[in-house]
């Protein structure tokens, strides 16, 4: 007899994704799929996916989705969650979407303590549009719009969203994780599970920042990109719990 140790989660639709080989979007999608399956929330959850590489998340994750304009997912999610507080709601946003054009929306969602969960994919670059500099692009990191490397005097320094948003009282739980290796991946899954669990308890805004790779636009192999997350990105974006009001509450 044999036991299944791991098989494809029923929280994923049985389709191929368009993501590049090794892209961490795929990993985060499956963690969300596994968490929603384990918490038995697939039938009621509504995800919001704005413009970015993950705009097609609604084709991949096996729950209802609403596609949002670039940067506006937190507003769309507010519209859904406020009118249907019983439904689990989450936004799945990239760094261009959340930290650039949608900065006001995410700040005010956190400020209002909206009771949905945001999964923030920080891969320090604009993926879908071919590798431009993002608000989270590291100093010195090259991109198609910072071709000799990000320069603090010209582009300013990258923003740490988990910390910034955690200064807002409406933020109940914020953690920064990555999925570059198995221990980190396990932690990331626990963090995502905790965020949804808190949401179902009606506890305020929950926010998971996932340091992720973009092998294609970083010009690295998927494995090298994962190493870069651990060696370099996590120096500027420290991993771990940034805020947990349950601890302090």
């Amino acid at each position: 007899m044999s036991q299944i140790v791991y098989k494809r989660s029923p929280g994923l639709q049985d389709v191929e994704t368009h993501y590049c080989p090794g892209c961490h979007h795929g990993i985060v999608h499956k963690l969300i799929a596994e968490v929603l399956t384990e918490l038995d929330l697939l039938d009621t959850t509504v995800g919001v996916c704005p413009v970015g590489c993950s705009v097609l998340a609604g084709n991949y994750i096996n729950c209802d989705f609403i596609e949002a304009a670039h940067g506006r997912a937190p507003a769309v999610a507010t519209g859904v969650k406020r009118t249907h507080p019983e439904l689990p709601v989450f936004t799945y946003q990239g760094d261009g979407d959340l930290a650039s054009i949608g900065a006001a929306e995410i700040v005010h969602a956190a400020m209002r303590g909206e009771r949905f969960t945001t999964i923030f994919i920080n891969n320090a670059i604009y993926g879908m549009t071919g590798g431009q500099m993002a608000p989270t692009t590291l100093e010195g990191q090259k991109s198609t719009t910072s071709q000799s490397g990000r320069d603090r005097n010209v582009h300013g320094l990258p923003v740490r969203m988990a910390e910034m948003l955690s200064t807002l009282d409406g933020m109940a739980y914020a953690e920064r994780v990555c999925v570059a290796d198995i221990p980190s991946l396990n932690k990331a899954k626990r963090a995502i599970k905790k965020a949804f669990t808190l949401q179902m308890k009606g506890i305020g805004f929950t926010f998971i920042e996932v340091l992720s790779t973009c092998p294609t636009n970083w010009g690295m192999s998927p494995v090298e990109a994962g190493k870069w997350v651990k060696s370099t990105m996590s120096q500027y974006y420290p991993l771990g719990i940034v805020k947990d009001t349950e601890v302090t509450a």
């Binding site: 044999s2 036991q3 191929e16 590049c20 090794g22 999925v179 290796d181 494995v223």
Partner: protein, 74 residues
């Protein structure tokens, strides 16, 4: 304890993450095979060394790997 690893070969994008997390280093991108997408899909070199830890399947961005733990027949 022995494991059995199966791949949905045609959905593998040859990213190599599974290879990088296998504690027994028994996975490789099989250069003798090119799948429908034009990649060398992941493959297992020595099934007998597999300890069914599931790491490869956990990290696969496309969930193409299934891992089973085979109970030792006495």
């Amino acid at each position: 304890m022995r494991g059995k690893v199966t791949f949905n070969l045609d959905r593998c994008k040859g990213c190599g993450l599974c290879v990088s997390v296998c504690p027994k280093e028994i996975l490789w991108l099989n250069e003798k095979v090119t799948n429908i997408k034009g990649y060398h899909p992941s493959g297992i070199l020595d099934q007998s060394k597999c300890i069914a830890c599931g790491n490869c399947a956990k990290i696969c961005p496309d969930s193409v790997i299934t891992v089973e733990r085979l109970d030792e027949e006495k």
